[in-house]
């Protein structure tokens, strides 16, 4: 059965990740980040609001567990990219989220965390925002869902789930901290 076939009988909305799968995906990404970085030293996790922020906190907790306790907790912050978006002029004035970066990013390995990677434009904006805060030694990208359809040369380093989608489908990530429950669903726009 093809996920993208035109005669696909799938219902208008379906769950592609449940709470357990999200939890396992986060644990695996946490391990991957630690492996790639050879430990937790120098790491700073920056979530992109809204749902990247709780994801970043989950990854930090999972890393602390995986390492069996760290000398210092991994710094976690939020990086709002609204002012750096390339589509500001296409919408009514957008609300701006919080930027809270707990430590300097100069020389750090910054892991940007977001829920869905799609066009890549949010990540482009995040890289610009980060550049105004300092000069990290390296920047990595961790996303819970990569749904394809990139419009910019952007690639994630750590992916919870690769999800082939059609562009008329909508991927919704719900997280307990924001939405009351953990779930990733795909909805087809009934156009």
């Amino acid at each position: 059965m093809s996920l993208t076939g035109p005669d696909d009988p799938t219902p208008a909305s379906r769950t592609v990740l449940d709470a357990d799968q999200i939890s396992r995906a986060c644990a695996r990404m946490a391990h991957e980040v630690l492996e790639a970085n050879r430990g937790a030293s120098g790491l700073v996790l920056l979530g992109i609001p809204t749902r990247g922020v709780p994801l970043a906190h989950r990854l930090a907790r999972a890393m602390a567990e995986a390492e069996g306790g760290l000398e210092a907790p991994i710094p976690v912050g939020s990086l709002d990219v609204t002012m750096y978006r390339d589509d500001l002029r296409r919408h009514p004035t957008r609300a701006v989220g919080r930027t809270e970066v707990p430590v300097g990013v100069d020389g750090a390995v910054v892991v940007l965390v977001d829920d869905v990677l799609y066009s890549g434009r949010t990540v482009r904006a995040a890289l610009d925002a980060l550049g105004d805060l300092g000069r990290p030694r390296a920047v990595r990208l961790a996303v819970l869902v990569d749904r394809g359809h990139r419009e910019l040369p952007v690639r994630a380093d750590h992916v919870g789930k690769n999800l082939p989608t059609r562009s008329d489908e909508r991927v919704s990530v719900r997280l307990a901290e924001v939405d009351g429950a953990d779930e990733v669903t795909i909805t087809r726009d009934e156009a």
Partner: protein, 326 residues
């Protein structure tokens, strides 16, 4: 938001949005790169028919830190000194293709009139009132509210609605003060109770209809309020006869060193500047631990960034882009 002409145009939710965004903007002031790209390609003109240091320079910094192009035009050194009318000046500048005009003028209502001319001609230029005569100075009231909200939140973090229920004294030359009018509007909108303290000669005739308490006994009021806002005695707007001598004004209504002891512990002191030290406020008060006067200046940039972003950060209004002259 199309224009910002009066503090009375804002409801509590809108004020909250502006102040919350200003908190984010304030963080930019402490960053290595003081620049956000949000208004790249937008042009802001500061059109100042009256002298100003902090308002003009903070609007200029606010625009520049948001990546807008900013130019300053003052009456001195422009065609205004050759006798050009307000209408001709603002339409000339607007025709160059600017996106926002920040207007300070000695005549009450000049920014509103400017906005009306733009509407008549279908020009989509946003107008910000940076002080008009004795009418309003809405961004000053916003930065005062921002400064006080921060101060009260730091004192009492469990009370996020920091200004509601507070009693705030506004002291001095109410008649000539656009700062007082905007603050009465804004603080009342936010649920605070404003107490105006002034000699009868410096209270406007319609003050009975304002939602405020009017008092003449500063000594008693100081112990009853959560904050005190001193106003500048505006000698340039006075034709004389408002008080016998500066010395008598200070004795009755100045925040002297002796009066500092009458304030509630921790009650902050604000002044919109520029100060007449020794007249409405003593050096001891201005430089005391409770003084928020420099916090107000810092807040001015953040609040004006927030206002410019609210006006210019999104797509152009459908009715604002028609552009063509009728």
């Amino acid at each position: 938001m199309r224009h910002l002409l009066s503090a009375a145009d804002l409801d509590a939710a809108e004020v909250g949005e502006i102040l919350d965004l200003a908190e984010e903007m304030a963080l930019v002031q402490s960053r290595p790169v003081k620049k956000l790209p949000a208004l790249r390609g937008r042009t802001v003109v500061n059109l100042f028919f009256e002298d100003s240091t902090r308002t003009r320079s903070s609007f200029e910094l606010a625009g520049k830190w948001l990546s807008a192009d900013v130019i300053n035009i003052s009456a001195k050194g422009s065609s205004v000194s050759k006798g050009e009318s307000l209408r001709d000046t603002v339409l000339t500048v607007a025709s160059m293709g600017v996106d926002a005009m920040v207007v300070r003028h000695m005549a009450s209502g000049a920014p509103l009139q400017t906005a009306r001319w733009f509407a008549e001609l279908g020009l989509g230029v946003h107008v910000v009132n940076a002080g008009d005569g004795t009418h309003e100075h809405p961004t000053q009231a916003l930065l005062d509210a921002f400064t006080l909200r921060r101060h009260f939140r730091a004192q009492d973090p469990d009370r996020p609605d920091a200004l509601a229920g507070r009693r705030i004294a506004v002291v001095g030359d109410i008649t000539h003060s656009r700062v007082a009018r905007s603050n009465v509007e804004l603080l009342t909108t936010l649920g605070a109770q404003v107490v105006l303290v002034a000699p009868p000669t410096l209270l406007p005739s319609g003050v009975g209809t304002w939602p405020v308490e009017v008092r003449h006994d500063l000594d008693a009021v100081l112990g009853e309020v959560d904050a005190v806002m001193m106003l500048r005695v505006q000698r340039e707007r006075m034709s004389g006869g408002y008080f016998p001598t500066p010395r008598e004004y200070t004795v009755g209504y100045g925040l002297t060193r002796a009066r500092l002891g009458l304030l509630r512990p921790g009650a902050p002191i604000c002044h919109p500047g520029p100060m007449n030290r020794g007249l409405e406020i003593s050096g001891d008060a201005a430089d005391s631990a409770g003084s928020l006067i420099l916090d107000q200046v810092a807040a001015g940039v953040a609040v004006r960034m927030s206002v410019l972003y609210q006006l210019l950060g999104g797509q152009d209004d459908a009715d604002g882009t028609t552009g063509a002259l009728r």
